[in-house]
Amino acid sequence: MDVLYQVFVDPFVQMGAMPDLLIQVIWEGFVSGILYALIALGFVLIFKASGIFNFAQGIMVVFGALSLVGLYELGVPAWLAIVLCIAIMFALAVTVERVVLRPLVNQPDIILFMATIGLNSFLIGFGESVFGGEPKTMITEQLGLPTGSTAVDVLGGRVIFQHLDIAAAVIAALMVAGLAIFFNKSKIGRALRAVADDHQAAMSVGITLQQIWVIVWFAAGIVALVTGIMWGARSDVSFALEIVALKALPVLILGGFTSIPGAIIGGLIIGISEKLAEFYWGPLVGGSIESWVPFFIALIFLWFRPQGLFGEKIIERI
């Protein structure tokens, strides 16, 4: 009985007793969720356009952030470093298209997936040899990102909002809105969905696969760069970030591999539930459960909606 009480009753009693703390935990989860959502968004963009699960998305986040800090350390002003990083992401997109995708066109998806694993390893090695392996500090102030915090009195307690977190939420929202409009409504958006559905048919109406691939990989690169900056500002910039990127997997399972809104909502669900689980249920088993709770949620989810919340339901006619 005691165990049942601790698991099913006590956490909710705690939540009710200190609602300000509950709000603080949810806010922390919300902010992590946004960052998970951004990583997942990078996956979704590439998956939608090419059916490729880009294993290297996580390392692109690290690579973008490392390039930015690396350039700044070389004495490049912050604004110019940002511009150069955008150029680097474009160069990366063009290179990936030329060297990896073009020679493998019309190969089975698994081959392309393997190729992105190769790309992942290459980027780790290349990044380490250029920028070194030790963790770096994000140039938060130089980029003009806010650093203070605001305490708000809520329900008889105080909740602290980091300005940086608020900025992250706003920037993420703007970027997602822009991408959603771009990919759903424009001619490029239609071309992109066409390429995702059928390469040959897309080519037959005059869509160039190469151009579409460069556009999506560039968009995914920009998303990765922004994610890297935001994440780097909250912790530091190191290859450990790549592990965090794996959290995008449960997010994708929840949200569906092809849905931009799915990535956002999936990210928020995962972020908030892992922080709640860690804070209220973690102590029962000695903590550190936030690293596996998301995967557990994803597993349960797979039983009921294997296509994700917003994914396209694939019905194969036999």
């Binding site: 424009s186 490029i188 969905r193 897309a202 080519m203 037959s204």
Partner: protein, 275 residues
Amino acid sequence: MNVMVAERPQPAPTDERISSEVILKVDNITLSFGGVKAIQNVSFDVRRGEVRAIIGPNGAGKTSMLNCINGFYHPQDGTITYRGTPRKQMRPHIAATQGIARTFQNVALFRGMSTLDNIMSGRTLKMKTNLFWQMIRRGPAENEEIEHRKVVEEIIDFLEIQEIRRTPVGRLPYGLQKRVELGRALAMEPTLLLLDEPMAGMNLEEKRDMSRFIIDANEQLGTTICLIEHDMGVVMDLSDRVVVLDHGELIADGTPQEVQADQAVIDAYLGVAHE
């Protein structure tokens, strides 16, 4: 045999539909995959305005030939002369830009998109506004969208598929999918339309409809058509001239009547052993 579309008179040599201009000419095309020779030394031409059929038993190289013409395959040898420009190889993008549209043997539609969006995708190359306007969807981009939408609606009327406008094509029955695919190709306002077995798997009524659309596209829109078809009745009724391939080689080329009477063609279809 002529139960399908008997209305159409057999084209006389002086038919005003067909001009003497050769719009497409393939010369000595040879295509092989490793040791397998898919096409060997095949030459034929297509005149502006005609319906040209490519027939032959399974594995004769018919689809490979279409794939060479629109640039999916690159023949090792020979030239493809389209509208006066000879090329060793075609590229899909160049083919599309210069007015070659096509359909596929196994319907290749964008399954997640509606009928409307599928046909609209055929307008890709006709849309010119830049990214900026497209992103904000105002001004020129909005006007352009409306203008192209009009063309697409005309095609939808033409093919009599008004009621499936908004349906995701993955849910449509096969016959209608084939029709949507034709619509997408027609949306490109092609000069040369390549149809790969447009009537495969259709029932009699669907075949009759499809034949009518092909004839209308040819006669009313003036589209030159090059089609692969297995139904001999359809081929004899629709086409002006027929190319017959067997084992990658050209074995006959002429009017439907000539081809039908050709001993090599009869042998190929009846499966006489090759010596």
